[in-house]
Assembly symmetry: C2
């Protein structure tokens, strides 16, 4: 018998953010590596698990309805990840396989036959033999296909156009910006620190950017994109959305991917967006989406995997990760992400092989 | 020599509304009915001219750029209308023809050969022999195709869905609601008086409605559409837009046709729309448009004319008009419309034949 450190949902937070140790806490749960897997099931050694902002929505009172189910109280926090199959009684997977699956933030997991069907996506395909498996949770994973599908489906980028991206060094923003550069657009990004600003301009090759803590969006865009915006890719909502609308051109598209400035606030504290008369005058389109909707992830799945793999292999798209090392640090890693303290795509590295 | 009463743009208003007699004024301009038309041109006796809210945007300082040209100072106010050809030197039209054209708010007009090409649309087609020619400036005219094209292109109505329409007794709203009823939707409308409320419910057969001066949109929709909205057809912006967003369902479409509550106000007085976090969560689409854009008027032109004609002929769509009688009352008729005092589609009847 050994132990299996696991991040557990202990209690629904009353405010927007969970507190490590109180609402989410690491517990050592028993795990016997010598016991066989369940009939038709598998035993997994977990390597990497993606940390994503939307997980805040699952760490809530299960009695409150929302777009995604709450985690079970006293059950593990789970998300997309990569694991090595240790033992298998399943015909679909064999010991030694690397799999993509819905995994607990834990060291090990045991899946029943039913869970193998519902929670394991596939054996990891790695045609370019990437050494850094984090890529499969970043540009090649959910955040990558979120960026890719929504930029093309809603943003409809055309060479010569101008795009503005908020939270531009974040998991989705950094990918949107690099795809847009590849497509021949002028790319402007906003970030929350001067380090991140240097990163998007100097390392990712964005045409310009600003630190939203130092400059109002409306003023910054007047300086950086006086020609106006064809696309605004919104990850934050609030003041930046309002400032972007001030600068949209006729026929502009606004991709609403997230509104992190508004999450967890009561309705009376939501920011009033005042510039929608300009949205009317400029015959614009604004659309929000869920990556699992038919027109997004499923529709773009193959094109995304093939093209993004090629771009990463040839080095024309780069990824920056904010790694949390070890399940024992997972609660803090998650809360740092929720607070916007990460720099790049957040991932929990459970162990190295 | 006779006179030709004509509504003239005299001076750009400093506020949102022109004052009759100061900014727009009727003047008797000379007109000689016995003189021949210009070479290749025509002489017209004007019968009806459409009065539309967007004309406020043309009654402005010509130095200010906007989506549509300003009227020339000391030139006539013009808009879509119907006229009888009195004399013609044009091969395209003959004396006696009824034509649809861009006409001055005046009793008569003389068009050069060039103006015949640029300003006359066509001889009026009237396959159903409608006696009331106002129909061609209402449901069969610009407001009708505005309603028809945007409802289908953006709203994508499906039987069993729920639509909410603001300014529901107005020129566009009354048509949108009746088409939606025909398509099998539940239709809720907002209006600004109890008379108008009785009209949309009792005469047009809407499923429900409310007087926005008496009840908040958010409260009224909780009562009238507890199932939520699939489509919101917005003519007003502001509080009603915000209240509608509160009630949209997953996958909702918001057609932004107008924002009359915001027109003519300085940006600092524009209403803050606070509920966009719900727009994000519910994966909604919001789009504004111009009827002359390729995907709207031109795309739907033939289908609209054929179907709307049929529906009007069989009585399944009705139209209500707010007639202003005589050019001498045209300035007041226009300002009443800008103030929302009309009840139905506003039209200037210059003369009866």
């Amino acid at each position: 018998m050994t132990t299996n450190n696991t991040l557990i949902f202990k209690k629904a937070p009353s405010g927007p953010l969970p507190t490590p140790g109180e609402h989410i806490a690491v517990e050592s749960r028993p795990f016997d590596p010598s016991s066989p897997p369940p009939t038709g099931g598998i035993t997994l050694s977990i390597l990497l698990v993606s940390l994503d902002p939307f997980l805040t929505d699952r760490i809530r009172d299960p009695a409150v309805e929302s777009w995604i189910p709450a985690y079970d109280l006293n059950g593990p926090i789970t998300n997309d990840g990569i694991a090595r199959v240790l033992k298998s009684d399943s015909p679909a997977y064999k010991a030694g396989d690397l799999v993509l699956a819905d995994l607990p933030l834990a060291e090990f997991a045991t899946f029943t036959a039913e869970e193998v069907t519902s929670r394991v996506k596939n054996v990891l395909e790695n045609p370019h033999n990437f050494e850094d498996l984090s890529l499969f949770l970043g540009p090649l994973g959910m955040t990558g296909i979120t960026a890719y599908s929504s930029l093309f489906e809603i943003g409809k980028p055309k060479a010569g156009e101008t795009i503005f991206i908020s939270s531009a060094s974040g998991a989705v923003g950094q990918i949107v910006g690099q795809i847009a550069k590849r497509e021949g657009l002028k790319v402007i990004g906003s970030v929350g620190s001067d380090d991140k600003l240097a990163y998007i301009v100097d390392e990712l090759g964005f045409d310009g950017g600003f630190n939203y803590k130092k400059e109002k969006t409306k003023d910054a865009l007047a300086r950086l994109a006086p020609e106006g915006l064809d696309i605004y890719y919104d990850n934050v909502g609030g003041e930046q959305l309002d400032g972007a609308i001030w600068h949209i051109k006729v026929g502009a598209r606004i991709v609403v991917c997230g509104m992190i400035t508004q999450y967890g606030k009561p309705p009376e504290e939501w920011t009033g967006i005042k510039n929608l008369l300009l949205f009317l005058e400029r015959r614009a389109t604004m659309r929000s989406f869920l990556v699992w909707d038919e027109e997004f992830g499923p529709k773009y799945k193959e094109a995304h995997f093939e093209k993004m793999g090629k771009w990463l292999a040839e080095g024309s798209i780069k990824a920056k990760f904010a790694m949390t090392e070890g399940v024992e640090n997972s609660a803090e890693g998650l809360v740092d992400l929720f607070k916007g303290r990460n720099f790049g795509k957040a991932i929990l590295r459970v162990k190295r092989e």
